[in-house]
Symmetry: C2
Subunit: 304 residues, 2 copies
């Protein structure tokens, strides 16, 4: 048994990776979403099977000794186990929360905190592969402060206010108006309400673009988002804690102005804590699988 | 011509009143919503006609010399004029914004500010029956800070956080859980997302109840709502302004803890400004109609 399997069951994609115990990639696969909260059951099974088939196509699946899957919210291990049976994968499978996988994707430490901003936002305290406590993660309507949805909605609100004031439009207002497709007062607001609310998350990358170009409105939105995220983290982390903090999620990983603003605040609040940015979640899952395999080898030494 | 007609075209009801020039009620009528933004055109016409028919049933409609209708957002004067023709009402009709009517429902002054919190929230500067400028009024998704929707959503968020923390539930958490129908962590949040977002406004009266009973969580939500509303008003009103401020909308008119919190902040910010609570909007519309009739009588004196 020299290989492990890591799986990330995200809201928009399913990713699988096969690595050696040392983390070297031996195979990888990708398919559509397999989150049972947002996707029909038949599609969940098809996407899981597709991602796994691709990842396993380049390796001897009898060499896979352990698998870990990270999933947001309610997961359905039974569907994943059925896919394993179909593909003839016989190793133990562990399904854990996406925050646990995100933490492992940023550090090998056994305990610490993880702060995630993607489409949603959540902070968690992780200890020995378990979630000890979480903060926010309440979804777009009730929370997710500092998430991609939150940033996109803040951009729409700031644009509506700027249009009503008749202020000279800056870079962000121009980008948002071009994306939403209307250019003045009421029509802009009406156009926003014609879309499904969650689609406001699609405006977040425009805030990144404008903030990178120095637009003051976009920078102030990023600063406010950073403030929310750091307050969320403070809800699961004591002052003076020296354990590592991992920054994860698509928005925090890819939006440099936000990550910088969060970095500055966290460094001020926890000056002695190592700060890490997570790698791909499926690699975090593979790391956890490698740890489990090594632990079980120590408990049951191979006959020599 | 001794009578005037006032009409309030609200989001949930249409109200009409016939008064003397001095404001004494001579007839009134009520029907369902006639706001063209939320109601189909045929229903708009039917509800307008129903409310007007009832209000005019007790008076000689030839005595009605002027009519004013207040409407939120986009209004359709043509539908209202058609209803007038059907009912044989021949007086001039003026359609104005609901903020103008709300201001007139609180004061006879020609100029000042109005702060409205109902299902939505908006502030406006009014001068001689015209809107000079407005702030917020961006709807539930982008703004309406301190509105009934905002208060209801804040109650749901506070309840979800309290359930996750495992804190002893106070009065507000108990009331919200009983209304939403679930009692623990994830199930509560899931139950909230199963409802249409706008229905969160239905939780606002529970916050009023809990705040009146002294619940600290409810009082802090009311205090935050009051802060938002006062900042919205400050967006349309200069420091030192001594013109009257009118508080209007169902939430500000009926929720005493919120009105008290707003009152305290406004008195501190504009100590020399008279502060009034608006009466029924249709009476404000009738007052405006009486002023218009009197002004036109002065311009064209009756032959004697």
């Amino acid at each position: 048994m020299t290989l492990v399997l890591g799986i990330d069951i995200g809201g928009t994609a399913t990713r699988a990776v096969v690595t050696t115990l040392g983390g070297t990639r031996a195979g990888s696969g990708r398919a559509g979403a397999a989150n049972p909260v947002t996707v029909p059951a038949a599609e969940v099974a098809a996407n899981l099977t597709a991602a796994l088939t691709e990842a396993l196509s380049t390796v001897d699946r009898a060499e896979v000794g352990a698998a870990v899957a990270g999933a947001a919210g309610a997961s359905r291990p039974a569907v994943l186990r059925a896919a394993f049976d179909t593909l003839g994968v016989r190793c133990p499978l562990h399904v854990v929360g996406d925050a646990v996988v995100a933490f492992a994707a940023g550090t090998d430490a056994p305990a610490g905190s993880v702060l995630i901003s993607g489409t949603g936002a959540v902070a968690a305290e992780v200890r020995e592969g378990d979630l000890v406590r979480t903060a926010d993660g309440l979804g777009w309507l009730l929370g997710d402060l500092g998430s991609g949805f939150w940033i996109g909605r803040a951009a729409a609100t700031a644009t509506a206010r700027a249009l009503y004031r008749g202020a000279p439009p800056g870079r962000l207002v121009e980008l948002v108006c071009a994306e939403v497709g209307e250019r003045a007062g009421d029509p802009f607001v009406a156009a926003v309400y014609e879309r499904p609310p969650r689609e406001l998350a699609a405006l977040a990358p425009l805030v990144t673009t404008a903030a990178t170009a120095g637009d003051p409105l976009a920078l102030s939105i990023m600063d406010e988002a950073a403030g929310h995220l750091c307050r969320t983290l403070a809800g699961v982390r004591e002052p003076g804690d020296r354990s590592p903090i991992v920054l994860a999620g698509g928005v925090l990983r890819q939006c440099l102005p936000l990550r910088q603003a969060v970095h500055d605040r966290l460094t001020a609040a926890w000056p002695d804590a190592p700060l890490r940015t997570a790698g791909p979640a499926e690699e975090g899952a593979a790391r956890l699988a490698a740890r489990l395999l090594e632990a079980s080898s120590r408990r049951r030494p191979a006959r020599s």
